[in-house]
Amino acid sequence: MENLLWGLQTTLLGMGLVFSLLALMWGLLTVALRLDQPSEPAPRAGGPEPAPAAPEPQFPPGLDEQTMAAILVATLAHRAQRRREAAPAMRSYWPGSLLYASRWVGAGRAVQNHGWRRGYR
């Protein structure tokens, strides 16, 4: 019975402490993130400049677009193959890690990229 009481006290105190500590962290993070913002000059001021037009692709004579594409595809396929084969030591990020999946993540974000503060349903 005494043990049970102790257990309840521990739970109360423990969860209280865990919540307080994480709430404190939330507060600190919010402050830190707010302080961090000004250091980045607003990149949108004046609106984005139009990107320079991509240069037209130049092919050497005798090497048409198809061949170039074939070379490119072969090289890319080989690169992907090498990457798959490679020992873990070769990868900057582990397969399945967040960073490795950045393109998928990016795609998912693009679908839902709405401001957090603006009304959204």
Binding site: W6, V18, L24, M25, W116
Partner: protein
């Protein structure tokens, strides 16, 4: 001269086979089966199973004085070096970015630790001592090294079953979580889409975050300093980008070597009579309680947040607050997609999951503090 007694001595291996040792070897085969064939955290369960098998062979010299398994135990379990080294590697592989983009998720991590304390109470009711109950409760941190660290300090004789329970259930997260998540939420709640902020996290913030967390947590809960310090050291090394060689060494060479040694040493603590007691079954049972209560508390708390934010929080991400990094976040995304294929919750779930990782460590430190302060 070799006498007739020698022959008897030669057969002493066979004559020391006991029922307990046979049962334990059978159990080690089960662990190996779970690890190899079922794919339950093989990196831990294979070495644990092997260590258990080798320690239970008759008269095993590996656990005698100067035996290799005992040497490994003294090298890194007794002084808690191994779990802390693994934490450096985990920190180097953890991305706190999603949490920084949405700091309010931090609270979800706190809710996901409720199972620790419920399990502690349940263990007390089953007759465990206070340190034992706290060690069993820490299974609810749902974080391997934290469980090993805390139970290694409070109840080293339970290290084996607690570690096995922690890692086994952790690999069962994709099976344990979905029913709880579905049972506690309505379809409309599961359909909630959560928008993303435009917030860009600067490198400076990413570098300051681990330092800040270490200083704050370490000052307020000194017992958590080793755990949080090593986790954040690994993260600092990664985010700084200045010491790639050390980051790689922590996440690969050191982590792999230590994982092997750790598993073997923990397996070697599971020896015969000491292990084969009803309490081991009780621990396995309490472990599943810990997981369940954690998940429920996380989801329910997320439902509260959902109300408070007027429906902007999908309660499913609460289940990611239990830790079990990074599986839980993926489970959340999967369950959400079952309802709405285009719902992209992963980054929010990752944030909650990273919060759960930090909260688990904090809870471990708090538990140690409570035991050290008033419990022992």
């Amino acid at each position: 001269m070799i006498g007739s007694d020698t022959i008897g001595l030669l057969l002493q291996g066979l004559s020391h086979v006991t029922v307990e040792s046979v049962v334990m070897i059978g159990l080690s085969l089960v662990l190996l089966y779970l690890g190899i064939e079922k794919g339950y955290e093989p990196l831990l369960l294979l070495p644990i199973g092997a260590g258990c098998l080798l320690a239970n062979l008759p008269l095993s010299p590996l656990i005698a004085e100067d035996g290799m398994l005992r040497v490994l135990y003294d090298m890194g379990i007794r002084n808690e070096l191994f779990p802390l080294l693994i934490f450096i590697g985990i920190g180097a592989l953890t991305d706190f970015g999603p949490l920084l983009e949405n700091p309010r998720l931090v609270l979800l991590g706190a809710a996901g630790q409720f199972g620790i304390f419920m399990t502690l109470i349940a263990a007390l009711l089953l007759g465990f001592t206070r340190p034992e109950a706290a060690s069993i409760g820490i299974i609810g941190a749902i974080d391997g090294p934290t469980s090993i660290y805390v139970s290694g300090l409070l109840a080293p004789h339970l290290l084996g079953p607690i570690t096995v329970a922690a890692y086994s259930y952790m690999s069962l997260v994709p099976i344990i979580l979905p029913p709880i998540m579905k049972g506690l939420t309505t379809k409309s709640e599961r359909l909630v889409r959560m928008p993303y902020t435009q917030r860009a996290i600067t490198r400076r913030t990413r570098i300051l975050f681990p330092i800040l967390v270490t200083v704050v947590v370490g000052t307020l809960v000194p017992f958590a300093t080793p755990l949080i310090g090593m986790l954040m050291l690994g993260n600092l090394m990664k985010e700084s980008g200045a010491v790639e060689r050390l980051t790689k060494a922590s996440a690969q060479e050191i982590a792999n070597t230590v994982t092997l040694f750790l598993g073997l040493a923990i397996g070697s603590t599971m020896v015969g009579g000491e292990f084969l007691k009803p309490r081991t079954l009780a621990i396995l049972f309490l472990g599943i309680v810990a997981f369940g209560v954690d998940a429920m508390a996380g989801v329910l708390f997320a439902k509260v947040l959902n109300r408070l934010s007027r429906g902007k929080v999908n309660p499913l991400i609460g289940a990611a607050g239990i830790s079990a990094f990074p599986m839980a976040a993926r489970v959340v995304q999967k369950v959400a997609q079952e309802e709405d294929f285009e719902n992209f919750l992963l980054m929010h779930a990752m944030g909650a999951n990273a919060a759960g990782q930090i909260a688990s460590v904090v809870a471990g430190g708090v538990l140690l503090a409570l035991m050290g302060a008033g419990g022992l």
